[in-house]
């Protein structure tokens, strides 16, 4: 009080901090989704959006229901999931293996890094005819395409992750006389895990893209074949039902990796 009297003015210091810190808001993502879908629904119902531009979301849901009831959903989903699982597992395993080797051995790094850089930008879809010749028109060529597509990003993420392992920890291992094998197994591999897992996130998204591409070129069943068929008939409801399945698949895989990350990397701050 006496200060106020002395100087005449007392003002609250204005707050100017805060912000620039991502805060999780759980329901906003869902709300955006709901709003977009409802806008589409309202637009198509009122005729503002013509049925040729966009199918009614409710019709898409109906089509999805029919697909489920008829059992066709599994006929298409089962081979797709198998292809995805086999191809991605092959590609990721090989990719992590090669990536670790590049990270550990300078000769392999010198030989492989330019090769990987050369392979990485090739659109793998363009190689599908080649894979058909090499591996036949059956499943093998599809596995190969998906594996090849997941391989390169996994390699790049893995050797980056190995490079980023804290050198002081490796020195520590050496200074305690740990064997080379122990250093790799107990220090380098766990230390590279965060980088490998975040690389896997990208690789698996690419695997889904390639899955559809592979199925569009000669597959009787599968989500890709289903979408292609719907597209050829301009059956937009079916097309969208297929696309929604792919989106859900992506969200599911990403959630799964998130769960694995939370479990394997629970030591992280």
């Amino acid at each position: 009080m006496s200060d106020t009297e002395e100087t005449g003015i007392a003002r609250q210091v204005a707050f100017r901090g805060g912000g620039f810190a991502p805060t999780p808001y759980r329901w906003i993502g869902l709300a955006v989704f709901v709003v977009l879908v409802s806008l589409a629904e309202i637009g198509t119902r009122s005729g503002f959006i013509s049925p040729l531009t966009l199918p009614k979301p409710s019709d898409v849901l109906l089509t999805f229901g029919e697909l489920y009831d008829s059992g066709l959903l599994w006929t298409h989903l089962a081979p797709s999931l198998t292809r995805l699982a086999v191809g991605a597992a092959l590609g990721a395993t090989l990719g992590i293996g090669v990536g670790v080797l590049i990270g550990l051995f300078s000769y392999i790094r010198a030989g492989m890094v330019p090769l990987i850089a050369a392979i990485f930008p090739i659109p793998k879809i363009a190689l599908l005819p080649l894979f058909v010749i090499w591996f036949g028109i059956d499943e093998a060529s599809k596995y190969a395409l998906i594996a090849f597509g997941t391989f390169t990003p996994t390699v790049v993420a893995t050797y980056g992750a190995v490079d980023n392992v804290d050198r002081t920890l490796i020195r520590m291992g050496q200074s305690f006389g740990m064997s080379w094998k122990s250093i790799v197994r107990k220090i380098i591999l766990p230390g590279a895990m965060p980088g490998i897992l975040s690389g896997l996130r990208i690789s698996l998204a690419i695997a889904i893209i390639l899955l559809v591409a592979a199925e569009m070129l000669g597959a009787e069943h599968g989500i890709g074949a289903y979408i292609l068929e719907a597209g050829a008939l301009y059956n937009l409801e079916r097309l969208f039902a297929g696309v929604v399945i792919l989106s859900l698949l992506g969200v599911l895989l990403s959630t799964a990796i998130g769960a694995i990350e939370r479990y394997v990397l629970r030591w992280r701050t």
Binding site: L169, R171, S175, F176, G191, W267
Partner: protein, 255 residues
Amino acid sequence: MDIRLSGISHSYGDFEVLRNISLDIPSGKIVCIVGPTGCGKSTLLRLIGGLEAPNKGSVLQLGVPADDCLNPLTYVFQDFALLPWRSVAGNISLVLEDHDLSRADIKNTISDVLARTKLTDFARALPKQLSGGMKQRVAIARALAVKPAVMLMDEPLSALDSQTRELLMDDLVALWTRQPFSAVYVTHNLDEAVRMGHSIVVLSRCPGEIREVVHLEKPLDERSYGDSDLQFRQKYLWNLMREEAQAADSELINV
């Protein structure tokens, strides 16, 4: 086991770091190495432990380490170097697993060193849950677990705040008093040097050469915070280093 450095010189390319260092590290004593920034203290420590090879001269082990010694030359690092994905006990077991020890032996060693460093209750904690001082105690416990002949301590307390540093110095002195170990203790903190060192080696600025070796006779456990005779020695050391420290401070970094 003693360590003898004879005529060590080392340079990185054209940049000479150390010149003609000869020094004996007697067993059961703590030798402190002090010097201005960039005088090659840490390089010297890496040379002693075999993490780097000197360009000239050699590091000799005189005598054989005790039979139960698993890793004669063992480091304690400034940044602790704990594996964040392993618990306290796991970090200690890491350095024992490569040796031919039974599970029971490993368990006994871990509980012994944890008890000596007062960490028994934290065996299952992860490094991220520990304060800096506790992390360094874990690193010291890990070093003790391999029963080293010589501990090589690279600014072990420099990452800690001054109160924690006081506490840890007391702990180290207590550990040494109970069971004397040999150590090379690199620090830039003269207070630590006069509290922990039986002898203090003062290095000059680049290239690092031995300027003077100061011996302190007062037993470690009788030294304490703010002792007037220690402060006198500290002042003496500071006068030795002052000008060079100033020069080092105003120099462009040559790396």
